[in-house]
């Protein structure tokens, strides 16, 4: 994100939808040409190494400079089937742009913005970038249509597999479609990526929950391979009194409500407390502001130093006027006689010795309890796992984190592969869209290798 390029728009209390428009405008043609020409076209470029999907960044940038936007979009999407989404949500400062050699000489190239420019061109021009492969007679079922599932499906379809995706929600795209704030990632971008995959002959069965609408056994017996890409589930319970009160929300569900109009007017003028300090917590807070909340506080039991949100997310939240209550732990949700939230009782914390994860463990300061006057509490303290489904598949896992071979993404069942957030955690993987996409791709290649063998023709 490049804050200086943000459109300086104040929050409208009348037109809430307008608050959710993409916050950073696309590069103009001239900006794109100037910026792409600034790229040095490094050899063995560090930006490529820094991209989890290994996009040939100098190549796609050179193509923008030469006016070959279709070629540019093809290079991006070739390596990353959700490259249009990633151009908006990747922590580029920590990946490609952070690796740009120009960091040391002038300013890094705006790789994310150039990637967005090229993929925007492809979206606007309805460019056909890939073709379905010749039918190889094998079928694969993919559970979940988020970044990992889509990436896997795209590569498998190009390799000639008959691919069916099972998606519990009414639309495909997973987190990219429902879980990332609209002003960063408009839903149509994710749906375009879904459409690209469908155009390769992939069938997406939406409103179909595996384990309910179709059994695990049916999948295992009906397909030659399965990719489990279900991501993560709801936010866990805080475990405090009042959690079922009216006005307590799950951050993931909350963000989802802002993805499609109409916007709820329930937050206009309200006081909101967001519990947690990760990227989802920031999303919940910035969405609250855009829904017209008057006062938004983020409550975190540790300090600024330990917060897990990206630096630019934190910056973004600060610019939105969000307040931070560090070293604060909620202890009770206060409600009125009708069961509506009126306050959040908290206790101040102090940091003690580092725990197992290396982070200093917070402990309550005795007698420091206080009540914060709020109308809504949004929980964003992580996500639970689809443990039941994983167990129905009979896969080895640790607290819902499916164990895989990190080269092949094969699970303890040789027929079942897993990618994305379902394997993230416990020191395995990264919770980024871009890593999920890469894992999905790698799972597809491993399935191809297992079922067809290496000698067969590569993807078309």
């Amino acid at each position: 994100m490049n804050f200086s390029r943000f459109e300086n728009k104040s929050i409208s209390l009348e037109d809430l939808e307008s608050n959710f428009q993409e916050v950073e405008p696309d590069l103009t043609q001239k900006e794109a040409i100037d910026e792409s020409n600034r790229c040095l076209y490094c050899y063995d470029a560090p930006c490529i190494q820094a991209c989890p999907t290994g996009i040939d960044i100098p190549s796609f940038i050179k193509k923008i400079a030469s006016g070959n936007l279709k070629g540019s979009a093809r290079v991006i999407m070739e390596s990353n089937p959700v490259g249009a989404s990633c151009s908006r949500v990747c922590p580029v400062e920590e990946l490609c742009e952070g690796a740009c050699v120009l960091n040391d000489a002038s300013m890094p190239i705006m790789i994310g913005n150039l990637q967005r420019h090229a993929t925007n061109w492809a979206m606007k021009n309805n460019a056909e970038l890939f073709k379905q492969g010749k039918d190889n007679g094998k079928s694969v079922a993919i559970v979940g249509s988020g970044p990992a599932g889509l990436a896997s499906a795209r590569e498998l379809a190009r390799l000639g597999f008959k691919v069916t995706i099972f998606e519990a929600k009414e639309k495909a795209g997973g987190l990219d479609t429902f879980g990332i704030v609209s002003f960063r990632l408009p839903q149509e971008v994710s749906l375009w990526e879904v459409e690209q995959v469908e155009k390769l002959g992939v069938e997406i069965r939406t409103n179909t929950t595996v384990g309910k609408d179709i059994s695990v056994d049916e999948l295992v017996s009906g397909y030659d391979a399965i990719v489990l890409a279900v991501g993560m589930s709801t936010v866990p319970m805080l475990g405090i009194e009042g959690e079922d009160a009216e006005g307590v929300f799950d951050a993931i569900d909350f963000v989802e409500t802002t993805k499609t109009p109409p916007m709820s007017r329930d937050f206009v003028g309200r006081k909101v407390a967001v519990v947690g300090a990760g990227n989802t917590a920031i999303d919940a807070a910035t969405c609250s502001i855009r829904l017209g909340a008057e006062d938004v506080k983020m409550i975190y039991r540790r300090t600024e130093k330990e917060m897990t949100a990206y630096e630019f997310e934190y910056e973004f939240a600060k610019q939105d006027g969000i307040e931070f209550e560090w070293l604060t732990q909620p202890t009770r949700i206060v409600t009125d006689e009708k069961g509506k939230v009126t306050g959040l009782e908290c206790v101040k914390m102090e940091l003690g010795e580092p725990g197992e994860d290396g982070r200093r463990r917070p402990t309550p300061v005795e007698g420091s309890e206080f009540v914060m006057e709020v109308d809504a509490v949004i929980k964003a303290i992580g996500q639970t796992r689809f443990v039941n489904l994983i167990e129905e598949f009979g896969l080895n896992h640790k607290w819902g984190v499916v164990e895989v071979n990190l080269d092949t993404f094969q699970t303890s069942n040789p027929k079942v592969f897993a990618a994305g957030d379902v394997i993230f955690g416990d020191g395995q993987g990264e919770a980024m869209v871009v890593t999920a996409a890469e894992q999905g791709k790698q799972a597809a290649y491993a399935i191809h290798k297992q079922l067809i063998g290496e000698t067969e023709s590569a993807a078309v």
Partner: protein
């Protein structure tokens, strides 16, 4: 502060920055605006028999997103009545007596035509003439401009005819559309020219439109070659200036240099290579007349820094350094050295050397895991390619390596010849 006053073959001007004969000097209004902006002189757009122009006329070439790397035109000489031009020249000269106003002329290669126009224009008070033997398009099809400028006899004769009538200095402007420009330069000298100027534009086709498949520019779907100028032609023009400056047969004739001059540093390079004044067109057409301010300021600061007082201290000072290949020292050796504290690891030097030169830059990893580049000096031929492609100043130095006594190709051939002669004598 350095004194930029110029006396070029007897033509005096407050500074050596003149507008070349071209669209910027089409009218009195423009030339007067230019003098107000600081230009020391102007060569009026070529006068001759009335012509007709076409629309459109110009095309620019871009490079890596930058406009006007080069510039192409199919405009002809002045399309205004001679009387109007003469009236405006008279008024301009009266208003700016200290600035150089030079009239560019082009007529058919006939003695009386030259006498007639020189006399007519001289009467309004110009400081000098520039004979346009270089315009490569349109006029050349009628036997003028480059067509006559490519034939040494015609250059000599027409110069002579102009000189017969001229009472002010005559500059002969040469075309680069010729194999050896010193041949036509010599013809100009033999015709009695007081000075020469170069280069006129180079035959060019700026491009082809990939949608319409029309030429760029085109006139109702048809194109014809134009003349190319602008930054892209500077090295070509600079060589021609230098070749003329070092040619003993040309006898140090004053040279007005032009071709891609955009900044004071371009001008200083031309001056070092023998240009006593410089002419500018494309840069002014790209940015307007105000660019002359930094040309003057920058040149003065440069000269002050180098402790140079007048233009005589700079003009031609690099000419003795320009020679023939056979006079270059075969034993001189430079090698590339990479400063890893400045290097940003873009690896452009490596791939340039690996793919297209002498495969002597290695990409290595230090014990601490940091990547670095290193030149295998024993394999480096000192070609400069790595330092040319390096995007960071100071990351690659070309370092001189002691390598024995100087020995040129010519020395070597002479020595071989001598050895074989003495061997023959001994036998």
């Amino acid at each position: 502060m350095a004194d930029l006053r110029t006396n070029f073959a007897g033509i005096k001007a407050p500074n050596p920055f003149w507008l070349a004969s071209a669209p910027p000097t089409n009218t009195g209004y423009q030339v007067q605006r230019a003098f107000e902006a600081g230009w020391g002189g102007a060569v009026w757009k070529t006068l001759g028999d009335p012509i007709l122009n076409v629309s459109s006329r110009f095309a620019g070439t871009s490079y890596n997103g930058k406009q006007v790397m080069g510039f192409n035109n199919i405009e002809l000489i002045s399309d205004r009545p001679l009387e109007v031009n003469l009236q405006e020249i008279y008024e301009t000269k009266k208003k700016y007596p200290d600035h150089a106003v030079i009239a560019s002329l082009m007529v058919e290669p006939q003695q009386e035509k030259w006498h007639e126009i020189v006399k007519k224009v001289q009467d309004v008070g110009v400081d000098g003439f520039e004979l346009n033997f270089g315009c490569p398009h349109g006029m050349a099809e009628r036997g003028m401009g480059a067509a006559s400028g490519q034939v040494p006899e015609l250059v000599e004769k027409q110069t002579m005819w102009a000189k017969e009538a001229a009472e002010v200095p005559v500059i002969v402007k040469l075309t680069p559309n010729i194999t050896d420009i010193t041949a036509t330069a010599l013809a100009a000298v033999q015709g009695g020219a007081d000075a020469i100027s170069m280069i006129n534009t180079i035959n060019s086709l700026a491009g082809v439109d990939l949608d319409s498949w029309n030429t760029i520019p085109h006139v109702a779907g048809k194109g014809a070659h134009g003349g190319y100028c602008g930054p892209a032609v500077k090295p070509i023009a600079l060589n021609m200036v230098a070749e003329c400056a070092r040619d003993p047969e040309l006898n140090n004739i004053p040279i007005s240099g032009m071709g891609g001059i955009s900044t004071w540093s371009d001008a200083a390079e031309y001056m070092l290579m023998g240009a006593g004044s410089v002419q500018v067109c494309t840069a002014a057409m790209h940015h307007g007349f105000s660019i002359v301010e930094d040309m003057i300021d920058g040149l003065q600061n440069y000269m002050d820094e180098k402790k140079l007082e007048t233009l005589d201290d700079i003009v031609g000072k690099s000419v003795p350094k320009y020679s023939d290949w056979g006079d270059l020292d075969l034993n001189y050796k430079v090698v590339a050295r990479i400063n890893n504290d400045v290097c940003i690891n873009c690896n452009k030097c490596h791939i340039a050397c690996e793919d297209t030169s002498h495969q002597c830059i290695d990409m290595l990893t230090a014990e601490d895991g940091t990547d670095y580049l290193e030149v295998r000096e024993e394999d480096c031929v000192g070609c400069n390619l790595c330092s040319i492609v390096c995007p960071v100043d100071g990351a690659i130095d070309m370092v001189e390596i002691p390598n024995g006594e100087p020995m040129t190709w010519n020395d070597r051939q002479a020595a071989i010849k001598q050895t074989s002669t003495s061997a023959t004598e001994l036998a």
